[in-house]
């Protein structure tokens, strides 16, 4: 088996995790599948840039994320305004999440979380990233990683019916 074939087989084996990662960005199944397909095409084109000493999953995550940021920018241009990319998430979005929390309108689903909260939560809970790794990957301060993961858990806990407790 050639190195290229191994690369492809490893990529195919990663597809479920890559798709989950894409979903955490897009929040839409058709968009996630479109994004995943384009990321795989890009990765195959840039195969020579891949360092086999590095984990393929993280290299692919980065490609997916960069493509999505590019897509969001295009949409903003097309639509005049649009979604704010995750890495540009501001406290305003956190405040929105707070409003939603207070209104108790969030279902207990990770898919209902805002992308800027769902992404760090997924990377830590499901992919085993450290806060520092998430910080470097998403290009946000470690303190922001910590507060977003906390906020995500609080939204889910609230939707599960847990009282606000000491955090109010």
């Amino acid at each position: 088996m050639t190195t290229a074939e191994k690369f492809k087989i490893e990529m195919i084996g990663l597809l479920p995790r890559l798709r989950r990662f894409a979903l955490s960005l897009t929040r839409s199944v058709p968009d996630a599948d479109d994004l995943l397909q384009d990321a795989c095409t890009t990765a195959l084109q840039r195969w020579h840039q891949y360092d086999p000493a590095q984990p393929l999953d993280r290299w692919m995550f980065r490609i997916i994320r960069n493509l999505w940021i590019s897509e969001i920018r295009k949409r903003k241009v097309r639509e005049g305004q649009g979604q704010v990319p995750a890495e540009e998430a501001t406290e305003l979005q956190t405040a929105d999440a707070d409003d939603t929390l207070n209104a108790k309108q969030v279902q207990a689903r990770v898919s209902a979380l805002p992308p800027d909260l769902a992404q760090p939560l997924m990377l830590v809970c499901a992919e085993g990233y450290s806060y520092r790794e998430v910080s470097e990957f998403l290009d946000i301060p470690v303190g922001t990683v910590m507060s977003r993961i906390h906020r995500a858990r609080k939204l889910l806990a609230s939707a599960l019916g847990h009282e606000e407790g000491i955090a109010t």
Partner: protein, 261 residues
């Protein structure tokens, strides 16, 4: 005090320094409200993990794995670089999903009914088994092909399905024998075939989840955990042919197996 709750969340992730962790542990022992807050965060975390894990069981479109297999690496695609993939293609993809083999895929996303979930679980279990057994050389099967009559009787009575061993030699597949598996808590008969290059293709069958006798809705193609699946139902029995991701011709193998099994 959101700051304390945030630290509890970081404590869950093992992200606090020693001093903060010790402070949290002292509070947890002395303050029931702090313990209750941690419990709430842990419940949320367990929920999140469960839902993130469930996403991995969603089938990936088979066409994508096949495209990866067939695309040469390091070569720019034939399509224009500026193709409007997010607009026009999205509409095409939606039609494809609804109309083609992705229907099952979309159904999984939008109506996770009990039967669909059970079927997905069955195939996910099969994928796990295949990942282990397909790499076996000497111990690929429990009962070898030389004991085919016994295999049919034994697996047939255990699984509760009468079947014949399909002859798939026209695809270069040699029947090696079979195994008894358990998936979704029910027995599964697994028939193993090998290509001359050693690649293993398996045919699995299990009595229908609900004992239904719905007519076969056709073949469904999916990729789960890196393996390609072509599944179908007939007379209340679930069948699936499984092979390595990106293998071409799996649907043809399944079509012949469906006629002969």
């Amino acid at each position: 005090m959101t700051d304390l709750s945030t630290k509890l969340s970081a404590y869950l992730d093992g992200e606090l320094d020693a001093a903060d962790a010790q402070m949290i542990e002292s509070l947890l022992e002395s303050d029931p409200a702090v313990q209750a807050e941690l419990d709430a965060l842990m419940a949320a975390d367990a929920l999140a993990q469960e839902q993130f894990d469930a996403l991995l069981r969603d089938p990936v479109p088979l066409s994508l794995a096949q495209k990866i297999k067939s695309t040469p690496v390091g070569i720019a695609p034939a399509r224009p670089a500026s193709r409007p993939i997010w607009g026009a293609v999205a509409a095409g993809l939606a039609l494809f999903i609804v109309g083609g083999m992705g229907g099952f895929f979309l159904k999984d996303q939008t109506s996770p009914g009990a039967t669909v979930v059970a079927n997905a679980g069955w195939l996910a279990d099969i994928a796990d088994y295949h990942a282990i057994y397909a790499s076996q050389q000497r111990h690929l099967v429990e009962v070898p092909a030389a004991e085919s009559a016994h295999l049919v009787k034994w697996l047939g009575s255990t699984v509760g399905v009468q079947f014949s061993i399909p002859d798939l030699s026209e695809f270069g597949l040699t029947f090696e024998g079979g195994r008894l598996l358990v998936a979704n808590g029910k027995p599964v008969a697994q028939l193993m075939y090998r290509q001359p290059d050693g690649v293993v293709i398996a045919l699995c069958l299990q009595s229908g989840m609900n004992g239904g006798t719905m007519p076969a809705p056709g073949f469904k193609q999916q990729t789960i955990k890196g393996f390609d699946f072509v599944s179908w139902k007939s007379d209340g029995v679930n069948y699936v042919v499984i092979g390595p991701g990106g293998k071409s011709g799996l649907a043809d193998i399944a079509a012949l197996a469906a006629r002969e099994v």
